[in-house]
Every structure is written in structure tokens, then in C-alpha cells.
């Protein structure tokens, strides 16, 4: 059974959106999906770079009203 959870990392400089995402990825189970919300301009590229390198899966990646909404599935 998959969970879906929002990781709200808007307006954060430290630890920052990707670090927040990694924290939450460690807490969830394989198959779970997370949606990261970020106002960091770099997230649209930084997050997929890490997700792809570590071997998780990007489900969607879009910017809506200045906020990145990136959905990820934990794959391992």
C-alpha cells in the first residue's frame, strides 16, 4: 500500500528543500510517493539530479505560481 505525503519546504534556506526531501525519503517505505513543494529556483533541476542518481523515480515536475511541485516515488 502506497502513501502520498507533502513535504512543504517552501521559503527555507537551511536545511533546504533537497535536504528535507532526503530526510523524508529515509522515513518512508519503498513504493511511497512524496510531493516536494519548493520555492528554491534551483529545485527544478537539483532534485531530479539527485533522484535520478540515487535511483528513485520522478513522477512529475512542474512549477505552479512560483512553487515547484515535484512528485517522487521511492524505488529502493
Amino acid at each position: 500500500m502506497s502513501d502520498s505525503k507533502i513535504v512543504d519546504a517552501r521559503d527555507t534556506f537551511c536545511p533546504g528543500p533537497l535536504m528535507e526531501l532526503i530526510t523524508h525519503m529515509k522515513q518512508c517505505s519503498v513504493g511511497d510517493t512524496l510531493e516536494l513543494l519548493s520555492t528554491d529556483e534551483g529545485s527544478g533541476a537539483d532534485v531530479p539530479e539527485w533522484v535520478n542518481k540515487v535511483g528513485h523515480e520522478i513522477l512529475s515536475n512542474e512549477k505552479i505560481d512560483g512553487v515547484w511541485h515535484i512528485k517522487i516515488r521511492k524505488a529502493k
Partner: protein
């Protein structure tokens, strides 16, 4: 009005002292009672562990008796919380004593969990405990050559510590005259060398100048202790002679046992600093699940907001402030220079060039902390 503060670290101590002063008349009139529960009768200045790791401070200098830091009107018990009944506003301690409250302040902090990564506890040194910092110093003072690898767990307390540690390593080996025989290799979980963009931009040329090697997108997956190899979740590995870890952290076990938050982090309103769904429960410091640095500085600024709001609720019925995400972190850039990063939810840090006076200020703050935690600074 019964105020119960759970946790005697930086945040809990500042909240309790600040409240005791703001509500001194109400306490004298027996209308308010402040109680603190803590796991220890000692209070540690945790940033000092970095200096212990380099032989610049001894552990005894890091401690004060917790009771000596608290206003006399605070009822202090060394009897940690064991069970939380938020619906009935009751906390039961390890000794079995029940404390009923009207307002609860959760400031239980965080703990290191190196055991969550295979081989890390056995294979890596760390300066996040007194024993660990002393052990690390004893290793640093005898190493003559080889690779010192630094890895960073997620999440971790004091996000500046990895950078500070590496700069201090460089200066330490330089002072010992063996810097050219030691390779320092720094590994960081995301795609730049520090999570704060401005810090990463400033530190990268400094690393290059000092000959510090670095690998980004490196999340520690496993340590092969026998072969002295640390492997990343991303599929890379580094052979080391000495491995130093900023260990991953979790919230306190008692919070997980009481189902107060995933990972032991309590879901918290980022402005009000109340527990989501419980307006009579305030949360601060490492204990929150907020996307805010887990540092004494954040705990300090949050504590001031929490104390001011609790006092104003008692005096006028409503809170008066919101937390704006403020954090101020010193950054030691070696053994004789420092800078700082200050930011909040809306304003990124504007990093200044490191200077000797800022290092001296940090040295002074290491003593001023005891004034700060009493709520006087």
C-alpha cells in the same frame, strides 16, 4: 495556570527562564506555576564539542548544573517524560509521577542514530557526543598520513558543522606540519558542498585553495569497516584511513513511542510554533518537524517567541508574535577566523568575508552562552 516544559536543553531553558521573568508577579501570586522535566541535572554547551575534537577545550568546560541556570521560581525535576496524554493534558514521567498542565512546551531535542547506517557506528568517529569528541581527538593527534574522509548523515543537527570541521581539520594538520601527508576528502548529500547556496559558493574556492577534495551527491549507505571503505547510496565509494561522520539524527525515542511525530519530529505550525491540532502545546528547537536548521540558535529565537506568546496569552488572552524563521549561525572558518550566516523564511543569508574579530566574538560567545541560556542576553 500550569506551564510544563519538557526538556532542559537550550530551547527549554530559555523558554522557562524567559517565562519566569515575564510572569514573576503571577508566580508570586500563585496564579502561574512553571515546571521543567529534564533527563539530566547537567546542561551541555554542545557547540563546544567541535573544540574538544581538536584539543582546544576539555569536556568539563562544556557543562553547568542545570539548576544553576534556572530562575528560582521554576520547579525543576530530573525525571524525564515517558508518556504523553495530550487529550487529558497529562504527562507521566519515568518515575511514574503525573504532571497535569494547561500549557505544554515540548523541547526534547534530538539524538544521533549512527546505527541506522550499516557499519557507521563501528567504522566512523564523530564529535557529536563528549566521548566521541575525545576519542576523535585522540585519533587526530596520532594520525601521520593517509585519507581522512568526512561524511554527512541526514538529517543532522548544526548544518554548519561539516564545513567548520573540515576547515579546522586543515588548520590542525597544518599546525602539526603534516598537511601535505593527509588527504582530506569531504562528502556531502546534495549537489553542492553546503545546503545554503551562499555558503557553498563562498566555501568552494576556499576548499580548492586549501586542497580539500570533495564529492557531492554522496549519501552514506554503508561502511565496510574491515576494508575501510565508505559507500554511498548513489553508488560511489571512498577508501579511508580515518572516517569522520556527522551522524544522522532522529527526534527523541519517547516521542516516537507516544506517536507524536514521524521520526520523533513533532508536526509544528511554522509561524505559531504550536503542535498541529493542539494549540495548548508549543514545540521548539530540534523537536519540530519544521524545515528550519536544527541549531541552538533556532531554538533560542523560537524560545523567545514561545515565551512571549505564552506570557501574553496569560496576560491579555492572545499571542502577540509569529516566528519568522530567524537563525543566526557562526561559521568557524579555521582556528583563527570566522564569519556568520543570518537568515529567516524570506531573507537568504548575506555572507561576509571571514575575519579574526568574528572568531574572537565566537570565542566570547562560547562563554556568553551561559548568560544567553539564562535568558539574559
Amino acid at each position: 495556570m500550569r506551564i510544563l516544559v519538557v526538556g532542559g536543553g537550550t530551547g527549554g531553558t530559555i523558554v522557562a527562564n524567559n517565562l519566569a521573568r515575564r510572569l514573576s508577579a503571577e508566580i508570586r501570586a500563585r496564579k502561574v506555576r512553571i515546571t521543567m522535566l529534564s533527563a539530566s541535572d547537567k546542561h551541555m554547551y554542545q557547540p563546544g564539542l567541535l573544540y574538544v575534537a581538536f584539543g582546544q577545550m576539555t569536556p568539563d568546560a562544556l557543562y553547568r548544573d542545570q539548576a544553576s541556570l534556572l530562575e528560582e521560581s521554576i520547579n525543576f525535576h530530573v525525571d524525564p517524560a515517558a508518556k504523553f496524554d495530550l487529550d487529558n493534558k497529562r504527562v507521566t514521567t519515568q518515575s511514574g509521577k503525573v504532571h497535569e498542565y494547561d500549557i505544554l512546551v515540548m523541547a526534547t531535542g534530538s539524538r544521533i542514530v549512527p546505527e541506522t547506517i550499516p557499519g557507521l557506528a563501528e567504522g566512523a568517529e564523530s564529535f557529536y557526543t563528549e566521548a566521541g569528541a575525545v576519542k576523535l581527538f585522540k585519533k587526530l593527534r596520532v594520525i601521520q598520513e593517509g585519507t581522512v574522509a568526512v561524511v554527512v548523515g541526514v538529517p543532522h543537527k548544526c548544518p554548519i558543522a561539516p564545513i567548520e570541521f573540515v576547515f579546522s581539520l586543515h588548520d590542525y594538520f597544518k599546525a602539526r606540519g603534516i598537511r601535505d601527508k593527509i588527504k582530506i576528502k569531504y562528502h556531502y548529500p546534495i549537489g553542492r558542498i553546503h545546503t545554503i547556496k551562499e555558503v557553498a559558493t563562498w566555501a568552494k574556492p576556499e576548499f580548492d585553495r586549501m586542497g580539500i577534495e570533495y564529492e557531492t551527491l554522496f549519501n552514506v549507505g554503508e561502511v565496510d569497516v574491515e576494508n575501510q571503505v565508505v559507500k554511498s547510496e548513489e553508488g560511489t565509494e571512498t577508501k579511508y584511513d580515518l572516517l569522520v561522520a556527522i551522524p544522522p539524527h532522529r527526534g527523541m525515542e519517547v516521542l516516537e513511542q507516544n506517536n507524536l511525530g514521524e521520526g520523533g519530529w513533532i508536526p509544528t505550525d511554522r509561524f505559531k510554533l504550536t503542535m498541529i491540532g493542539h494549540d495548548d502545546v508549543y514545540v521548539l528547537g530540534d523537536t519540530t518537524n519544521l524545515p528550519v536548521s536544527k541549531t541552538g540558535s533556532a531554538a533560542h529565537f523560537e524560545a523567545e517567541v514561545v515565551a512571549e506568546n505564552i506570557a501574553s496569552i496569560i496576560k491579555i488572552g492572545v499571542p502577540v508574535r509569529e516566528y519568522d524563521g530567524k537563525v543566526y549561525c557562526f561559521i568557524e572558518t579555521g582556528h583563527d577566523s570566522a564569519t556568520y550566516a543570518m537568515f529567516n523564511y524570506q531573507t537568504p543569508p548575506d555572507l561576509k568575508s571571514p575575519s579574526k574579530p568574528m572568531h574572537w566574538f565566537k570565542m566570547a560567545y562560547n562563554q556568553m552562552y551561559w548568560t544567553s541560556v539564562r535568558g539574559l542576553l
